[in-house]
Homo-oligomer: 368 residues x 2
């Protein structure tokens, strides 16, 4: 069911808001106290551009939390259960920020801009408050604030050509999650990153007054590649098994449950928040894990209830946390957080809003 | 400008969602990762019910952050720059939660349910993360979580009659911000509170599955008083000078700037977060204060830009943070955060989205 919403001082407009309205945005969600476009009204075309051409997304809601000052590195390490000792300047690392219980409270990209300056490019929770509390309690010499940064994503197999046409062929050498400065009169950084598995870049605009100008430049550069507006794509992200923090996680979810084990270093320093809990959880073995489900229905499903229950026989075994019709598999698929007892290949049942039960088969992730 | 939004796992439905949809909600905002109704399509009737009769509001977005355990009181005190030593059980106190710099990060009601159990009824930021960080860093023995609590507000001069008809005449003795248990098969607490100056109660429903049932019971009890659905009312709240955290505040706002001086105890313990900064700010004198503005225009204004700038001659002196047409004053009025140099009675100018300048006169708050 769809409703009306308007911007307000508490629900901010992005730097690209006017451009997305002009380009025909059809619906929004909110994320980090800001409106984010989620549809331009033609899901098939948006999926096709992302997977076969190039799409541009207003993802200014990926707010940055900047740590600046002599203790910025100390604070970054305290917040990240990954060993940051060898992190190079100019790289971004995916991290699972955990609380003291080992529960994920945000899954940002940490960008190291210098030894004394870091950005967390955050998911939808107030990581600013978390980071500031820790800095204050530990007495670290560091400023924690939201800088004027608005990411614009250019995603899809032709994204590199668009970015190269804009900035030069040197961008083709940028590594995955590497961030580079750009010489331009608009202040910005570019990184090879984005919330899809189709490849692409994110432009970190550092002056929100110039959002519409940047949007137009990307649109113009992308014209010959058939660029068009889009948004983080639920079909593609479920196919690719990308995590939506707060969507696929609850207030008990640890990194081992959602395929983030390789982003946890159990030998990280002892004063890293959550590391002791994570060592214990790893030792005992996590209770749940994330699997895919392929649903045994022909047509696209109506929206399921949020976190629909999964059953094996009479037994509750977990939840469907997201589902979609997959153009690639031509199937209804979903992401599930289920008991470790449930295995790939198992048959389970999900209750539809109609009360009917729908059969599904569990599988490993990602789907494609 | 109004847009489409839908519920999602990240943008939750309230316990009263189905009821508000059935009762004709016309638009929503989001608040604490949840949809909140903001209009039922007849602003004049909604204002009249609130100020002359009785209105019911879905304010389930006022999420609770529960502190439970032996150190709950210690944590509550660490978070609140108010002296909680003499806080009685069963009372709610309005508090300005500050960071270590003395900046307000949330302005909740703190409810003391027992010596080892507190609720913060929060404004729109993740106070849960803040509280949990502090608890973890200090090693306090306390659980910090979001309990299953959904407030429903009954507001207006006839609210007490509705609540008395539902629960008995004893409710008439409940003091302002006092909270009481109710004997009923629906688990709930009631308090004399709410985000208006029209008087009323908030019912804290403690089982979200029973939201529609409670909504119906309030609606039925209120029928003879002409009850109808509404929402936190921007006209009434600006007239009454109620603060909207995140709307009227920025990341530099301290309690002294927004008329919360009487909720700060500078003799609170030294380990209360922000207290040292607040003592220093008080000593030096805050830079800004909150005043009202009466605008010199006849018709209702179109929405101003967010945080429109105020000028005296050529000088920038502050911002309009909220504005509305006041039915009571029959004038366009607003809340402003301005330099201490600006005084009540001063003439200032605000730039309209059209580029025109509109004259206004500053005044003390509240308006009525």
């Amino acid at each position: 069911m769809s409703h009306q919403i308007s911007p307000s001082p508490r629900v901010r407009r992005s730097a690209f808001y006017n451009s997305t309205v002009r380009d025909g945005v059809k619906s929004f969600s909110t994320y980090n106290h800001m409106l984010i476009p989620i549809s331009f009204g033609d899901p098939a075309a948006e999926y096709k551009r992302l997977t076969e051409g190039v799409a541009m997304w207003d993802v200014a809601v990926e707010r940055q939390v900047e740590l600046s000052g002599p203790d910025a590195g100390k604070l970054a390490q305290a917040l990240c259960p990954r060993n940051l000792a060898d992190m190079p300047i100019g790289m971004g690392w995916y991290v699972a920020i955990c609380d003291h219980r080992g529960t994920i409270i945000n899954d940002p990209i940490l960008l190291k801009l210098s030894e004394t300056r870091y950005w967390f490019s955050i998911a939808d929770s107030d990581l600013l408050l978390w980071a500031r509390a820790v800095a204050g309690e530990r007495g670290y010499q560091v400023n924690v604030f939201e800088p004027d940064v608005s990411p614009l994503a250019v995603q899809g197999p032709m994204a590199e050509d668009v970015i190269a046409d804009m900035f030069g062929d040197w961008v083709r050498e940028i590594k995955h999650f590497e961030v580079r400065e750009v010489e331009d009169d608009i202040p910005m950084l570019i990184a090879r990153s984005g919330w899809s598995k189709q490849g692409g870049f994110e432009i970190y605009l550092m002056d929100h007054y110039r959002g519409d100008e940047l949007w137009d430049r990307v649109r113009t550069a992308g014209e010959k590649y058939g660029i068009g507006p889009g948004a983080p794509n639920s079909q593609e992200r479920v196919e690719s098994g990308l995590l939506s923090w707060g969507g696929d996680t609850d207030d008990e979810t640890n990194p081992f449950e959602v395929r983030m084990t390789r982003f946890v270093d159990l030998d990280a320093p002892d004063d890293v928040i959550g590391i002791q809990a994570l060592r214990r959880i790893k030792e005992e073995g996590p209770r749940r894990w994330q699997l895919g489900i392929k649903l045994d229905v022909e047509d696209a499903l109506p929206p399921l209830d949020q976190w629909s229950e999964l059953r094996q026989g009479d037994m509750f075994v977990g939840h469907v946390t997201a589902h979609t019709f997959s153009p690639k598999l031509q199937k209804n698929i979903g992401l599930c957080l289920v008991s470790r007892e449930v295995k790939s290949g198992d048959i389970v049942y999900v209750t539809l809003p109609t009360g009917q039960h729908c059969k599904g088969e569990m599988c490993k992730l990602p789907f494609v």
